[in-house]
Amino acid sequence: MSSKKGKKKSSDEEKKEEFIRIDGRKPDEMRPYKIRAHILRNADGSAEIRLGGNWIIAAVYGPKEHFPKFEISQDKAILNCRYHMTPYSTTERKSPKPSRREIELSKVIKNALEQAVVLEEFPEMSIDVYMEVAQAEGSTRVASVTAAAVALADAGIPMRDLVVGCSAGKVNGHIILDVGEEEDKEGEADLPIAIMPNLRKVVLLQMDGKLTHEEFKEAFDLALKGAMELYEEQVRALTSILKDMEVIEEGVKDEKE
């Protein structure tokens, strides 16, 4: 596949050079991004992602005893996920009550994270993952899962791999990386994915719009490329925190005792 991809891309790249996107980006260019881990004091793990105008805050609580008892899973932890948009995250005010869309996205994100978290280590317990979209600007679901994975790692929860997401799409006939809000509305297709980058597994995959099989391949490879780029940012965020960790923990002790 990689060789085919190579060929494909080089020919596509010519086209792409000409196409300038609504926000001035090149077709295969990500928006600016920044991930910070360990940003909330109370959560067992937390992270924040900024991806263009997206701003998402993720928090993890657990593992912890699960209530009510009769729902307990005997052989592994239950993973609860909530993807939620704040009222001011969209141009028109969003009701704080979860919409059907938010419930669906919570479900597909849960599936993605379940592939990575070693749930078997915590039978009868539960782990809660909360993603709050403070500002939305396209591709929030993949940004959310990316932040959530960092928050899980920050919580010290054992994982087989990180999970990192990115989107590709089609706008005015061009395959593009990291679909922005306007591009999602006006474009021809949206392809959000999330992967376990080291295990080389797709754990979130959705598509809207219309793509030929050829276009899909191009978009999928582009999204993979973007995800790998964001993965490095995840690692950077976690590494910088690991270094600070002991210092902070000591600081907390000093402050509180």
Partner: protein, 283 residues
């Protein structure tokens, strides 16, 4: 929260699950099908006389009923020249020991939304033909599907049901409504002459499950219980992909392209089977 059935079902299902794995390892399926075979498909249209379009689909033992209804509505501000399409589905509590009455579960919401996207993104219904007065009055189209018995692969069966109902259904003539808007009784379109629903595509959804690292199509309820991954792909009549949903588990990068190819083949096959069953001419 799933209900537990004390009697025998869970035990039966567990035993069946073991069998399924054993069979798949031996490259067989419990019901004798090949890995890429669909179960028997039966379609009956026009089953709900009160609906503008309807279908009852049996895919093996999975049973779905679809009804299409119309109301007058106001278009969305950002698409004043388009009718409104709403697709909703429920897995009725009759469908299996684990189905529940009550507000839709997250699984039901996902199913509804995947079926909705399959229809909407394919642009099967030409919504521009549902306009009565741009920006003011349009037809609002409700597509409701219900799973009466769930023996797996609900989404494929539901999409088959919806396209069958749309291809054979009718709608109130918007031209007539426009000319007689004043005289019509409020929100009552029963007296309006009907025309066929304006369709321009024929999407087919195909769900593929991964068991013991092998791909099978049209999984049964029991096969879904043991599958490692499950994905639904919808193709348009022009063999474009118009919806994908990884419903469960994960896939290797190469596996993604494998399932795309399988689903493309299957979409053509199922589309033709529907054409036959509905007595529609082929391409």
């Amino acid at each position: 929260m799933k209900k537990n059935n004390f009697k025998k079902k869970t035990l039966k299902e567990i035993l069946m699950a073991n069998n399924i794995l054993k069979f798949i390892k031996e490259n067989r399926r419990l019901d004798g099908r090949g890995f890429l075979d669909y179960r028997d498909l039966r379609i009956e249209t026009g089953v709900i006389k009160k609906a503008y379009g309807s279908a009852r689909v049996e895919l093996g033992d999975t049973i779905v009923i679809v009804g299409v209804q119309f109301e007058l509505g106001t278009p969305f501000p950002d698409s004043p020249d388009k009718g409104i399409l709403l697709t909703e589905g429920e897995v009725l509590p009759t469908a299996s020991f684990s189905a529940e009455a009550g507000p839709p579960s997250e699984e039901e919401i996902e199913i509804s939304r995947v079926v909705d996207r399959s229809i909407r993104e394919s642009e099967m219904v030409d919504l521009s033909k549902l306009v009565i007065k741009p920006g003011e009055s349009v037809l609002k189209m409700f597509i409701d599907f219900n799973i009466f018995n769930d023996d797996g692969n609900i989404i494929d069966a539901a999409v088959i049901g919806v396209v069958s109902a749309l291809l054979t259904g009718e709608m109130p003539d918007p031209e007539y409504v426009k000319e007689h808007l004043e005289e019509l009784p409020p929100n009552n379109l029963t007296s309006v002459p009907r025309i066929p629903i304006p369709t321009q595509d024929f999407p087919i959804a195909n769900t593929i499950a991964l068991i013991d690292n092998k791909f099978i199509v049209d999984p049964t309820f029991a096969e879904e219980m043991v599958s490692e991954a499950r994905i639904t792909i919808t193709h348009t009549v022009n063999n474009e992909i118009c919806a994908i949903q990884l419903i469960q588990g994960g896939l290797g990068y190469e596996q993604v392209f494998e399932v795309l190819n399988i689903s493309l083949d299957k979409s053509i096959e199922i589309r033709n089977r529907i054409r036959e069953l509905l007595g529609l001419g082929g391409d």
